[in-house]
């Protein structure tokens, strides 16, 4: 009975704005900064793990999550809302895809599914929009065979002596790294590099200066840490920084050896020790 009288809390203001969505964006813009950078051979996601008390145990806190073996996600905004979205993203990647096609969804499909969940919260009765923006990073296996890929590139270059792009640059046909931002409204954008949260503007200005085409994953991690350093409030160490990468298949995470054709997950989180190592070389 109650749901018969429930109506959407997100209603148009006379000027045509949906203020609830703007309020949700305000929540995002107060959130801890998170960023993502796409490289030729992978993607890095990074954020700060802020704890309000010295008594908190940060090792059990996690803000970057694995969704599928090749897709990871980070957020800025409200932590509880994010956890719900992680649950739904993991669930829909199975119910809406793996259980149908026996393979994990390509990044764009997963992004669209998550974006739909967020959009529905702006039009349904009795709910509020999610107070988070997401960065979703994934690696797609291209559907063109390796040989055709170069042919494609040649055709794209045409007759003139244009420089051939080195390696994969993303897209469902070619495969490779993909980086998306999803907002509370349910809109999503593909990026080469971007940041969300409190210091997004500063971080993006910094990224615009440091980003170059043909970036390698190692350089991208380096730039990610430099960008974070610009905006961070506390100390930078393996405990306070969180990094997730999409890179080559991590076969050591497979759990077994000697299974022919088995590939490890491309998405993995860096250990505090690995982060410390990067920080020493900063």
């Amino acid at each position: 009975m109650a749901d018969r009288y429930s109506f959407s809390l997100t209603t148009f203001s006379p000027s045509g704005k949906l203020v609830q969505i703007e309020y949700a964006l305000n929540a995002v813009n107060q959130g801890v900064t998170a960023l993502g950078i796409k490289a030729t051979n992978g993607i890095v996601l990074a954020t700060e793990k802020k704890s309000s008390s010295p008594l908190a145990d940060p090792s059990s806190l996690s803000k970057i999550s694995l969704i599928t073996p090749n897709i990871g996600m980070v957020y800025s905004g409200m932590g509880p809302d994010y956890r719900v979205l992680v649950d739904k993203a993991r669930k829909v990647s199975h119910t809406g895809y793996k259980r149908i096609y026996n393979e994990y969804p390509p990044t764009r499909i997963l992004v669209q599914d998550v974006a739909r969940v967020m959009q529905e919260a702006t039009q349904s009765g009795g709910v509020r929009p999610y107070g988070v923006s997401l960065l979703i990073a994934g690696w797609d296996e291209g559907i063109l065979p390796e040989g055709d890929e170069e042919k494609e590139a040649e055709e794209a270059a045409g007759g003139d002596e244009k420089k051939k792009p080195s390696g994969k640059t993303g897209g469902i046909l070619k495969g490779g790294p993909m980086l998306y931002q999803v907002d509370p409204s349910g809109s999503y954008f593909p990026w080469k590099a971007t940041a969300i949260g409190k210091s997004a503007t500063t971080a993006k200005t910094f990224l615009e200066k440091r980003y170059t085409e043909g970036l390698e994953l190692e350089d991208a991690v380096h730039i990610a840490l430099l960008t974070l350093k610009e905006t961070i409030e506390g100390e930078m160490n393996g405990e306070t920084i969180e990094i997730g990468i999409v890179g080559p298949p991590a076969d050591h995470l497979l759990g077994v050896e000697g299974v022919e054709g088995a590939r490890g997950p491309r998405f993995r989180k860096l250990t505090p020790q690995e982060i410390e190592d990067y920080l020493t070389n900063l």
Partner: protein
């Protein structure tokens, strides 16, 4: 005799060759021993190089093939790509399903229909590894035509598809009309 799988009759066979695959079906539609149509194809195309052969109850061939067409079209619109050609381009591939969905991956051949026993016999003796497209066409055609000659519920002509990396050839075989 009243099993739904043998009311209408029909036969399908698929084979792997060297950098190619072939799939073929007969053309008969019957009601028990009576032949109603000699032009009832049982192979359906779902992409540049994805083919599905169905045998069994004729009404379910239509229902299932239409449902797959809908699902494949929805997939193509949603994903902006044809369904799974990569597997095909890299390694020619065939598989079979029984009526409750058990998948059968095969490195040589797949058979289905009321002429299953005959087709297994023909395929076991005619098929060999690494057949070139023209030889594969000859092999699958001989296997199907000989098999359906020994099955009263199949035959009356056949279609054969030879699927290569960048081309698909469809041929009509005029079988005996009795």
């Amino acid at each position: 005799m009243s099993s739904p799988f043998s009311i209408n009759g029909g036969a399908c066979v698929a084979m792997v060759g060297k950098d190619c695959v072939a799939i073929a079906c007969d053309l008969r539609l019957g009601l028990q021993a009576l032949t109603v149509s000699n032009n009832f194809p049982k192979i359906f195309q779902y992409g540049d190089n994805v083919f599905l052969g169905l045998t069994g109850l004729a009404t379910d061939l239509s229902t299932v093939s239409d449902l797959f067409r809908y699902k494949v079209n929805m997939y193509r619109l949603r994903e902006e790509r044809n369904i799974a050609p990569k597997t095909f381009a890299n390694l020619p591939f065939i598989c079979g399903f029984d009526s409750i969905g058990c998948i059968d991956f095969a490195a040589d051949f797949i058979v289905s229909g009321t002429a299953t026993d005959q087709l297994y016999g023909m395929c076991e003796s005619l098929w060999e590894p690494n057949l070139a497209p023209e030889d594969l066409f000859e092999t699958i055609s001989q296997a199907l035509m000989s098999a359906v000659d020994r099955d009263a519920l199949s035959g009356w002509g056949a279609y054969v598809y030879i699927i290569e990396k960048d081309k698909v050839t469809k041929r009509l075989l005029k079988g005996r009309q009795d």
